[in-house]
Subunit: 65 residues, 2 copies
Amino acid sequence: MTKNLKIKAARAAKDMTQKDLAEAVGVTRQTMNAIEMGDYNPTLNLCISICKVLGKTLDELFWEE
Amino acid sequence: MTKNLKIKAARAAKDMTQKDLAEAVGVTRQTMNAIEMGDYNPTLNLCISICKVLGKTLDELFWEE
DNA sequence: ACAAAAAGTCTTATATATTTGACATAATTT
DNA sequence: AAATTATGTCAAATATATAAGACTTTTTGT
């Protein structure tokens, strides 16, 4: 699996730390970190929560051509 | 959670049964059924596999406004 | 250069996605 | 109408996502 830089970028755009995002989404900092690092297979609901907090869509954050 | 009719429709468009789709995706028929029934929180990788088999995108199958 | 904050990594424990098998009902086919 | 196929559902077992805590490294700020 590959790093998810889109989340990192969207997070930066909102000036949020991994911890901030994790709390906003209701998940652990370690989980958020693992997702960004790409060694994780998150749950759809978690993906959707992340999207909503960051104001992005599933395709924008989790789809790769 | 609510029924995922988008998957059902995309599946119908390809003339695939739940079992067909499940096998193409490498998952159990029960799992596919549960996802369509909406009482499930599938994994991102599984969602992506479903999308690829059905020729759709994450937003098209799993995003709700 | 130092201090503090943020990010990355590991281990153990817990919650939950997914499997397997079996059975019931709905829909199709002959 | 009988037989076959597709769908829906349940219970028990297994695999894996996520939690919690501790520690290291990297980045940022002063």
